[in-house]
Structure formats: structure tokens, C-alpha cells
Amino acid sequence: MINVAIIDYKMGNLFSVFHACENVGLNPKISSDPKILKESDAAILPGVGAFGEAMETLEKLDLIKPIKEYIDTGKSFMGICLGFQLLFSESEEFGLHKGLGIFEGMVKKFSITSINGGNVKIPQIGWNQIYNYGNSWELSPLVGIDEGEYMYFVHSYYVEPVDDKIKMTKTIYECFEYCSSINKGNVFATQFHPEKSAKEGLKIYKNWARQINNRG
């Protein structure tokens, strides 16, 4: 039985993540208790909402240090959407905010001017395709996923990772290309929501679950 801690910092609906974990045979628990995080075999940092508010809440709940320590242990860690963005150094959402700084990089707002004269809708809400950056997906939960597969996105901000080697997928929104997922060692994080991406998204959870197994 693999215990997965889904970190609850009051931002967004965690139930889809919970159900997706259950669906692939994991034993998920939603909690803001650092002890539970520490004791789990794997952890997920989900979230939807504003970067600054998220960091403040994480601080208030005394979760920042526990998360960093957890990642240091080498146990599997997945960040989703806001959880993906928080892993980076800094965001410009509603002023400048420091993130967890696990990876170097900025979080910026989409500022796309339309080519064909229509409105560019922000946030991006809907399905979009993921493509390879040239780094192998083999050791990540993306193994076996088709190039160009569709995933579900909801976001107004995107991440610019400094290290090119960790970039897994790129996505194009209104002709603008950005990084939609990263993988390094035990940390896998996606801008999109695999738990909202139908069967292919569930595959990602399945792969992630299998890789937890292999790890330890």
C-alpha cells in the first residue's frame, strides 16, 4: 500500500487528484499536517489560484520547510498547476513573490497579442497538446504518452525554467510556446491537470505510481 500525501493548503479542489490516485491503486490522504507528509511514500502539491496567496498560506501552515525537506529525501513528488509554479524561484503575479525555489526560473503572465485580430482569452482554459523538448520522457511519468497528446490546462501564468535539461514538454497557446512540465530526479511537475485529462492523464498517474514502486 503506497501512501500518498496530497498537500492541502486550501487552494483549489483536491478531490479529482484524490480520485485519480485511488483509481490507480494508490492510497491518498488529503492533509496539511507536516507529519503526515513526512511519513508518506509519495506526495503531491496541487493547487489553483494566486501564487502570492499560496506562498503565504504555506508559510502560515508551516509547510515550506517540510516540503523542501521532503523533496530532499528523494521520495516521489508531483506538482500540479499552481503546485508546479510554486517550485520555482519567483512569480510576478500581483507583485513579486518568492516561490519554494526548488528550481530556478520565473513565473510570468501570458501576454500574447493576437495575430488574427480576435481577443486572446486569458486564462487558457481547455485542452492543449504536449510536445517533446528533446529530453527523453523514458524515466518520467510521461513514458508511453504520445507526442502531441492532449492535456487539460487552466492557467494565466506560465513558467520559464532556467535549466533546459529538466524541461519535458512544451505547449503552444495562440502561437506562444512555453514549458508545460518538468522532471528531475524525484520531482515531476506539470502545468496541466493530469487528473482532468481523461484516460491519457490517468496513464500519467499510473506511470507515476509505478515509478514510486520502483524507487523504493
Binding site: 479542489n13 489560484g49 481547455g126
Partner: protein
């Protein structure tokens, strides 16, 4: 961008229902069953609307939301009778990803601001039910197309965006359920006046209409009901019946269609693909 095809299910109690002009509660079957089929067949999202919640002042979709959330892994929007922050919380907790507000939003616009702030803009959809007036203006109605508010639709849409809503679902009550096509003018007016995504709802009779509303009226997504439900109905077997409650005469007798061409999600997306409308589709 990839235009979304959202399967919309109007629900009353245990039944999937389908009206015309948001009126009439003809029973078509079990919503869980239809939802599951649409998920399997490639729907981009699901939208559950409790059509009598405002009428009876009750919220009763929690069971089907939970059931759906456990097995269906695409976004689920839930609307109907959500009046307070607590109502929204309950529905999200039951498993919904987004909530749709209409009556409560018009009565108390600050609720939209409050909810967007608390739950995130992208969680809040505001539904606008538009009815064309004699002077050709469009006004917003509440309570499933029943109550007059006097509020002009474009003005309200802009206000909704300012209040922080993530999306707008625009229903043309005049066209809804008839299969005569969308109200392209109305939808275009609203879609081009806001920079949040707009979902068109009401009137699709065939994939052609869907293509037209996307390319002409510049919407980002469509919510369809009649053409999918009547299409699926012809494939399902008899155990679909729920004989306890509701207008099941149609199910018992079967019927002819006039302007609605029953279709499938695949047919819709195939048609869009062939007509160069981007959507989530692999040929």
C-alpha cells in the same frame, strides 16, 4: 486554441431531462449513464445543470456529482440553485471542478467577486440566460429562463468579467432545444466584448451549427445537449427507464425529430476537424 465540446446534462432529481426554451421536463434517462458515455466518447468537459433547484429552493445533485467525480476524469461544471459560498463549497467538495452561477449572481453580484476570490476565478462560471425582446435587445433572465430582470446582456457580461468570473456560459433561451441553430449575433456580441472564455449554449441542430458558431461568433467552447442526448438515446436499451417520476411519455413512445440531427461527439469533432476548426481530436 482548441475549442471545447462540452456535454450539458439538465438534471431533475434522478433523471436526465430535456426541455425546449428551458421549459418542459421530458425524461430521457439516467444522467450517470449518459455522462459516462460522453466521457468515453471524447467529450472535453461535462456540465450538470439542476433545472429545478431555483424553483424548489433545493440542492440535490451531490450524489451524482460524487459518483461522476470518482469515475470520470474530465472537468465537471455544476450549476443550478447555488446561492451562497457554502453551497459552492459543498458542490466542489462533492467533486465538481467548476460551479455555474446565474440567479444568485444577478441578485447579488458581489457573490461572484467573493467566490472568485475564495475559490479562484477559473472555478467560477457565470451563466447568462438571454431572451430577445421585442425591440431586439437581449435581456438576462433567472430561474431557468423564467424571471425577468431587465438587465441587458452585454452590460452584464462585462460586469461579470470585472467581478472576476473565469468563464461565461451564454444560453439563448429562444433557440434552446429547438435545433434551429444558435443565435449567432447575440453570441458574437458577447464573445467579442469580454476577454474571458465564452461558452455558447442553445440551439445546435447539427455539427454545421457548431462550426458556424465557433468561426462566426468567436466562441471558445460550445455546450450541447439535445443533439447528443437524442443521438445517444437511439443506442441505449430499455433499462434506461426510471418509472417513478417524470414525463417519460417520450421514452415510451419514441418520436420523430424535425430540426435536430442526432449526432455523436466524434461526428462533431470530425466535422470541425475537416473544416479547420481546432479541437481536441486525433484523426
Amino acid at each position: 486554441m482548441n475549442h471545447r465540446i462540452i456535454a450539458r446534462l439538465d438534471i431533475k432529481g434522478p433523471n436526465l431531462v430535456k426541455g425546449i426554451h428551458l421549459e418542459g421536463l421530458r425524461v430521457l434517462g439516467k444522467p450517470e449513464k449518459f455522462a459516462r458515455y460522453y466521457y468515453e466518447m471524447g467529450a472535453d468537459e461535462l456540465y450538470f445543470q439542476d433545472v429545478v433547484a431555483s424553483l424548489y429552493n433545493r440542492n440535490s445533485l451531490h450524489d451524482i456529482i460524487s459518483k461522476t467525480a470518482k469515475e470520470i476524469f474530465i472537468p465537471l461544471t455544476v450549476g443550478g440553485g447555488l446561492r451562497t459560498i457554502d453551497d459552492i463549497k459543498m458542490v466542489l467538495r462533492a467533486g465538481a471542478d467548476k460551479v455555474s452561477l446565474n440567479t444568485a449572481a444577478i441578485k447579488n453580484p458581489e457573490l461572484v467577486r467573493d467566490a472568485s476570490h475564495r475559490f479562484g476565478s477559473s472555478t467560477i462560471v457565470v451563466a447568462i440566460e438571454a431572451i430577445k425582446q421585442d425591440d431586439h435587445t437581449y435581456l438576462a433572465y433567472t430561474d431557468n429562463g423564467r424571471e425577468y430582470t431587465g438587465i441587458e446582456v452585454v452590460k452584464w457580461a462585462k460586469q461579470v468579467e470585472e467581478l472576476g468570473a473565469g468563464e461565461i456560459c451564454l444560453t439563448s433561451v429562444d433557440n434552446e432545444g429547438t435545433g434551429i441553430g444558435y443565435d449567432y449575433e447575440l453570441i458574437r456580441m458577447v464573445a467579442t466584448s469580454v476577454s474571458i472564455p465564452v461558452i455558447a449554449h442553445g440551439g445546435a441542430g447539427s455539427p454545421k451549427d457548431i462550426k458556424r458558431v465557433i468561426s462566426e461568433s468567436k466562441v471558445d467552447a460550445v455546450a450541447v445537449a439535445s443533439i447528443l442526448h437524442y443521438g445517444l438515446l437511439s443506442c441505449l436499451n430499455d433499462e434506461n427507464f426510471n418509472t417513478e417520476e417524470g414525463n417519460i411519455e417520450f421514452l415510451k413512445n419514441g418520436n420523430q425529430f424535425t430540426k435536430i440531427t442526432p449526432t455523436t461527439i466524434d461526428e462533431i469533432k470530425n466535422y470541425l476537424y475537416d473544416n479547420k476548426i481546432t479541437c481536441r481530436y486525433k484523426k
